[in-house]
């Protein structure tokens, strides 16, 4: 059952209210599941066997994979039907993305071309612009990129210095865009530049325009198979019609693409975590020490069970958020203004998902590597790659620091405007702490960041609790274990936020061995 549009809760309302039910992955229809299955099969058969050559950026391989994905309809799941997309919801698109993301390098390539590079166009483009560029992007015949960052403008994105000037009916662009994913094989770049050095605006730049060039590849810690390079614009000339949306309102395009992008990045970071869990479960069953499988040992079981619990909570909050976003698009979407409103409504939830999911991913790949012992530290085993690849998730689409600042700042601002309430629902111990911490109206960054942690944990806890009640089965045990972890984290955050002491509730008792066994049985996240 999809949350119906008319009753969709307002952005950030999780903080002050407890809904009766939420959308969870268990609610995807059998059609949806078939599509998700296609994505998983694609990953398992077309991507995972080739991760080594992918990491070497073998010539032409990545565009070939994208094309193949496009032929199956995977490159435009939530793009408009009129322009070659399937017109399906963003939540389903995100779940598909999760399963397309088992390998980090392919994930970014696919995630950007089917996501953030298209979404700006789909939400803010004119019919002509959409008709010109979307069909080939959704077909996987061309590849898109998103170019916001610059050498001296990263987190402070609005300080960009790339300039645009209208000269004889063409835009002339000058500047350097840094860290551009897909640069090597992209056909179309969504570029942010300032008109006359002032009005922040978005432009559609085709790769083969005069004055457009790509620098050498960055030499990266991970995601070696994804392309990251600079886009250099030297008197680059593009048609006047290729400005996207209004002059001076490029930040609407950039940041709303980022809101959706952050939500989707949460899904992207769950893919590798999912795979890492499966690998750790299989390896610890296989590996014998002291005459038995190391999966018999309590500390290994604790790792596997905690992975399952973290994953469970992440899944609960991410796909709850996706359903909310879908309901916002159903209510307001269609017009450019409506699209803007829809992609902005759940910005707080999107940031919470981004931070929470990427940190869960980091924990899971790290502990999965630990399960492998010394073998995990070598390139002979697949877990080292996951470990390296996952590192960047906490850096891009807004660093986790920037997302933390944004999250609590925005909630307090919305509260001031009467748009949201910071009176906590009080439906959990964490919620109570969060309410008390926010009531101190923190201003310095450390306290604000700690408040963000509390808000994020409250959202995760509530989502996990509701999901566990709805699904039954192993949900209860995963929720209990998650609650123990989340309470401890919340206690620390509360201390940072207020400086006050706090007494942790007693831990729930959990059958860790049984949960670990379920991870092994499911070869990954517990269903």
């Amino acid at each position: 059952m999809q949350t119906s549009a008319s009753t969709a809760p307002k952005g950030a309302s999780f903080f002050s209210e407890t809904p009766d039910r939420i959308f969870t992955v268990e609610d995807f229809s059998s059609d949806d599941r078939l599509m998700i299955e296609t994505a998983e099969q694609f990953s398992r058969n077309e991507v995972m066997p080739h991760v080594e050559v992918i990491d070497k950026q073998e010539d032409g391989l990545m565009p070939k994979l994208i094309k193949k994905a496009g032929e199956l309809g995977l490159c435009g799941v939530d793009a408009p039907e009129a322009h070659g997309g399937l017109g399906l919801g963003k939540n389903l698109a995100a779940r598909i993305l999760e399963f397309m993301s088992l390998n980090g390098s392919f994930s970014v390539t696919y995630g950007i071309t089917s996501g953030i590079s298209q979404v700006g166009l789909a939400l803010f483009g004119t019919e002509e612009q959409k008709a010109k560029y979307l069909p080939s992007l959704t077909a996987g015949e061309t590849i898109g990129a998103y170019a916001l960052s610059e050498p001296n403008s990263g987190s402070d994105a609005l300080s960009a210095t790339t300039r645009a000037e209208l000269v004889n009916g063409q835009w002339k662009l000058n500047g350097t865009k840094m860290w551009i994913s897909n640069a090597k094989w992209a056909d179309l770049f969504l570029v942010m530049a300032k008109i006359d050095g002032e009005k922040f605006s978005a432009f559609l730049v085709e790769r083969d325009r005069p004055g457009v060039s790509i620098s050498r590849e960055e030499h990266k810690l991970g995601l070696k198979g994804s392309s990251t390079a600079r886009l250099v614009l030297e008197d680059a000339l593009i048609p006047e019609d290729n400005r996207l949306y209004q002059p001076g309102l490029g930040h609407h395009v950039a940041f709303n693409a980022l809101n959706i992008g952050r939500f989707k990045l949460a899904s992207m970071s769950m893919g590798p975590a999912r795979d890492a869990m499966g690998l750790a479960a299989a390896y610890t069953d296989d590996r014998k020490q002291f005459g038995q499988s190391i999966s018999n040992f309590g500390l290994i079981q604790k790792k596997l069970a905690t992975m399952a619990a973290l994953y469970f909570a992440t899944e609960a909050m991410v796909y709850r958020t996706g359903a909310l976003i879908d309901s916002a698009f159903e209510t307001w979407g269609g017009t450019i203004d409506g699209n803007r409103k829809a992609s902005e409504e759940y910005a707080i939830e999107c940031s919470a998902c981004k931070v929470f999911a990427t940190e869960a991913e980091a924990w899971i790949v790290d502990e999965a590597l630990q399960c492998y012992g010394g073998y995990g530290f070598t390139e002979e085993f697949p877990i080292a790659r996951h470990y390296r690849d996952a590192r960047v998730s906490r850096i891009y689409e807004g660093t986790n620091e920037i997302n933390r600042i944004f999250l609590a700042d925005r909630l307090m601002r919305w509260a001031k405007d009467g748009r949201a309430s910071v009176t906590a629902a009080g439906d959990s111990w964490i919620s109570e702490l969060a309410g008390k911490a926010l009531a101190t109206k923190p201003t310095d960054q450390i306290r604000v960041g700690a408040c963000s942690d509390l808000v994020m944990l409250a959202y995760a806890e509530q989502s996990a609790r509701l999901r566990a009640a709805q699904m039954g089965g192993a949900g209860a045990a995963m929720y209990d274990l998650f609650l123990n972890v989340a309470n401890a984290r919340a206690a620390e955050a509360y201390q940072w936020a207020t400086g006050e002491s706090v007494v942790l509730p007693a831990a729930k008792s959990v059958d860790v061995a049984e949960l670990a066994r379920r991870v092994a049985e499911c070869r990954g996240p517990v269903r």
Binding site: D31, L34, G73, E521, R527
Partner: protein
């Protein structure tokens, strides 16, 4: 040409399942269900025929409870034209399935029944043969290659002594082996299109008369730990001790 493809809903063959505590069956809570993989190969093969010859019509049929719609929709998404769900809550064994399929064949008059050689849940490997015998049609089992000509089918089957090629007149029953093809990824637009393809629910025409009954389901006993021997001599004496040599 009309091809009838029976598809069975089975528990995901890669999932671990446990018996119910009272041994009356399997605990399928939370389990994933699939098209029996051999049947999926049959659907794939039929769709390839259709791609080569658009006049081919593919009808898929499943006998079972309402949930079988899921597998039928999947077959439609792969490319079948329409589906029949023979709705029943009864238990069936192979002879009863063959009898009910014969009724479907009578209603649909296909030129070819293409079906899995066995289902991964019961591994019986007899429904196809029983159906052919009931209909009095020729049969070719374990097909690893299939060619359709005017009024005939040429089927290659792998046997212990090599490959065997049979030519049989149509209508006929052909059962599929794993090597026949590799089913495709199901394209997303196909899944959307399948929503509007016809799926007809029919009551069963026959009453199953079970000749076999499942009395009890239990896990195989866990294997006791073995022991290591240091030499061939020790191995031989150990085997003699056990009376195997």
């Amino acid at each position: 040409m009309r091809i009838l493809v029976p598809v069975k809903r089975v528990v995901d063959p890669y999932a671990k399942v446990r018996p119910l505590a009272d041994g009356s069956g399997l605990d399928t809570t939370g389990a994933k269900f699939e098209i029996n993989p051999f049947d999926e190969i049959a659907v794939e093969e039929a769709v390839r025929r259709k791609e080569a010859d658009p006049s081919v019509e593919i009808v898929v049929v499943s006998i079972g409870a309402g949930e079988c719609e899921e597998q039928l929709r999947k077959a439609l998404a792969i490319g079948a034209d329409r589906a029949i769900l023979v709705e029943t809550s009864e238990a069936y064994d192979s002879p009863s399935i063959a009898a009910e399929l014969a009724a479907v064949v009578a209603a649909e008059s296909p030129d070819l029944v293409l079906m899995g050689k066995q289902a991964t849940d019961d591994d019986n490997n007899q429904a196809g043969q029983m159906l052919a015998s009931r209909l009095g049609w020729p049969q070719a089992t374990f097909a690893s290659k299939l060619e359709l000509g005017a009024g005939k089918a040429t089927v290659t089957r792998e046997t212990d002594t090599g490959t065997e090629t049979l030519e049989i007149p149509l209508p006929a029953v052909v059962t599929t082996d794993l090597r026949l093809n590799e089913p495709r990824y199901i394209a997303l637009p196909g899944i959307i299109k399948a929503r509007s393809k016809p799926l007809e629910r029919r009551p069963a025409q026959t009453t199953p008369r079970l000749r076999t009954r499942v009395l009890k389901v239990e896990s195989p006993p866990s294997r006791a730990a073995g022991r290591k021997v240091a030499s061939v001599d020790e191995l031989i004496s150990a085997l003699k001790e056990k009376g195997v040599l």
